[in-house]
Symmetry: C2
Subunit: 350 residues, 2 copies
Amino acid sequence: MDELTQRQQDILGYVVGEYIATAKAVGSDTICQSCGLGVSSATIRNELVALADQGFLSQPHTSAGRVPTAKGYRYFVERLMQRSELSLSEQTMIRHQFHQVSQDLDQWMRLAATVLAKMSQGASLIAAPQSHQTHFRHVELISISEATGLMILVLQDGSVHQQMMVYGNPVSQEQLSRVSNRLNAQFANLGTAQARAKALGEMGGEDEALVIEVSRRMVDVMYAYESQSNREIYRDGLVHILGQPEFEEIERARQVVRVLEQDSALEALFGRVQLANGVQIIIGSDDQTDDIRDCSLVLSGYGLPGEADGIVGVLGPMRMQYGRTVSAVRYVAGVMSDLLHRLYGEQMTG
Amino acid sequence: MDELTQRQQDILGYVVGEYIATAKAVGSDTICQSCGLGVSSATIRNELVALADQGFLSQPHTSAGRVPTAKGYRYFVERLMQRSELSLSEQTMIRHQFHQVSQDLDQWMRLAATVLAKMSQGASLIAAPQSHQTHFRHVELISISEATGLMILVLQDGSVHQQMMVYGNPVSQEQLSRVSNRLNAQFANLGTAQARAKALGEMGGEDEALVIEVSRRMVDVMYAYESQSNREIYRDGLVHILGQPEFEEIERARQVVRVLEQDSALEALFGRVQLANGVQIIIGSDDQTDDIRDCSLVLSGYGLPGEADGIVGVLGPMRMQYGRTVSAVRYVAGVMSDLLHRLYGEQMTG
DNA sequence: TGCTAGCACTCGGAAGGCAAGAGTGCTAAC
DNA sequence: GTTAGCACTCTTGCCTTCCGAGTGCTAGCA
C-alpha cells in the first residue's frame, strides 16, 4: 500500500471531509486557509499533484479543485477517519424505541430501517436473520373452511411460516389435530434433509394422503427458507439519497432505485462481503457499468453468529458521513443482536 | 357538469391520448393532420380556446401546444377513455404466476406488486386485507428457551400473528400447552372487546400469572390488527415513475418518493376513496401543496367485501396509461379476491 | 532540498444576443 | 361556422463573450 507523508494524510483527510460536507471540489487556497498547516497554497498544490498521481484524488476538469476518488475514500475510511460514536442520548432513544414496539421481529426490522435511515441520512437496508440450516420444531393445522386451512410451521430458530392449504376433500379439525400430532412426533428435531427423506418415505396409517401432503409442503417451506432466496428486505430513507446533489441528474437516481427495488440485486451486494468481522464498507465499484459505482455501502451482520445471520446496512452516496454511518450501523446491529440473544441466546448456546 | 360538443370531445380525447403518449404539448396542426375531423387547424384552435376556457386544457406558455389539466384527465377517464382489457395471454400468464408461487398471502402480495408494476409501468401498492372486526381463533405457545417463547395467534379471518414472549421465570412446554389449551377453550370465537373483558377479568386457577400475561398480549395484538395501523404495504415499480420525463426535475421525484416511503401517507391516500365500487381513480389534487399533485392513483379494493378489505393500486404520473392501468388493477384485484375466496369464502358466507 | 511568490493558462459557467421554429390569436373573407 | 393569412410570442439551441476559480510552471529564496 502506498505510503503517504503526514502532511499528505492531513491534506487528504481535509479534502475528503470538506468534499463530504460541501459536495464542491476543494482547491488549494481553501486548504491553505482552513487547514492550519503553515505552508502556502503552492506547496499544497504540489502535494495535491502527488496525491492525484497516486490516485487518491482527481479533478473534474483542469481548473477545478480536487475531488476524492474511491481509493481516496478507502484510505480515509481505513486510516484517517475518526470514530464518532452516537451520543448517549441517541443511544438510549434508539433502545427505548425498540422496547416500545411490540415484540415481533418484523416490527423490529421495520423500526431498524427507520432509525438507521434517520441516523445515517442514507438508505437503510435490513434483511431478516436466516439460518443456513434449521430443524423442524412444530406444526399446527388450523381449519378455515371445510376443505381449506392453514398450516403453521415453526422451525428451530423460532421462525414462523404459514401456508394456506386447499384439501381435495372436506377435512375436520379433529382429523387435522390427529395429523399434526403425528407429524410433530415424527418430525421432531429433524433437519431439512432428514425431513425430506421422511416425507418421501412410506407413511402408512390413517389419514395417509393428508399426512403426505402436509409433510411435503413442510419440506418445501424448509428448503425455501434455507435457500435464503426470497427473504424480505426492509428499506427506508431512499429520499435521503435522492436529496443529495450528485443525484440531480435523474439517471443516477434511477440506477440506485433499480438496485434498491430488486431484492436479488441487494442479495448480490450482501454476498460481496464476509460479515463475520464487524462492519464492512464497500466504496464505489471498479466496474464502470455497475449500478452503484457512485455509491458506498456500509454493512454489518447481526443475529446469532454462525446460526442465523441477518444484515443491516446503509447505502448512500460515496460522499457519505462515514463516521456516523458506521457507528449507527454498528449500534443498530448490536441492538438487534441483543434482542435476538435475549430470545434465542440461551437455547442456541446451551 | 360542463357539456362538450362531440367535436370538442374528440379533440380533448385526442389531446389527452397524444400527450400521454409523447409527453409533449400538442398543437392545433398535429390535431388537424392526425385526427381526421375534416376541419382546418384554425377551427381546431377555436375549439381549443373553448376547452381551455372551461378548464380542460392549459398551455405551458403562450406559444406552446395544449396540455390536459387534471379536469381534462378526469373528463377523459370518465367519458372518453376506451377500455382496454388485458389480452388473454397476459391474463393466463398472470394467473399462472400466482399458482406457481407458494400458497402464502405474503408471497401473493409481493407477486401482485411485481406484476402490477410491470403491467401498468407505474408504482404499485398492495396493502394486506384486514378485518375491521375479527374473532379469536386459536393460540399456540411454543417454547424457545427456558424463559422465552413464541406466541402464535390465529384469528378468525385466517391471519397469523406472532409475538415473542419473555417470561419472568422458567416455563416448561407442558405448562405452555396447558395454558394454550385453556385459552383456546376460554377465548373461542370471542370478538376483540369480549376478549378484552375476559383478559382483564378474574382468571384464577393454575398458572394464573402466565394466563394473564398471554391473554393480554393476545388482546393487544387483536386491537392493533383491527386498528389497521401498521399493516405492511408492498411496493414495486418506483423506477417506472422516475423514468417519466416529468420527473426529470428531481424535486418532483423526491416528493413522490417521500409519499411512497411513508406508510401513513399512503394509508391517508387510501382513505380518500370508498372502495366498495370497483376501481377508483384519483387524478391530481386541488391542493397545490400536495405531494402527489402531479400524480394519479388507480385503486381497487380486494378481499371479502365487508369482511376483510385489502387494497391494490398503482401510482403514476398524471400522464398515465389509464385504460391499461385500470384493467391491470381490476384484474389483479380480481385474482387476489379469487384466491382469498377459495380459502375463506365458504366459511365467511356460510 | 524544500518552500514560496508570481504569473500565464485553462476551463466551466453565467450572461447576452441571435436565428429558427413552433404555435398561437386575431382578422377579414368565404 | 369555417378558413386562410399573418403578425406576434415564446422557447430552444447556438454562439460569443466575459469572469473567476484554480491550476501548473518557473524562478528565486532559505
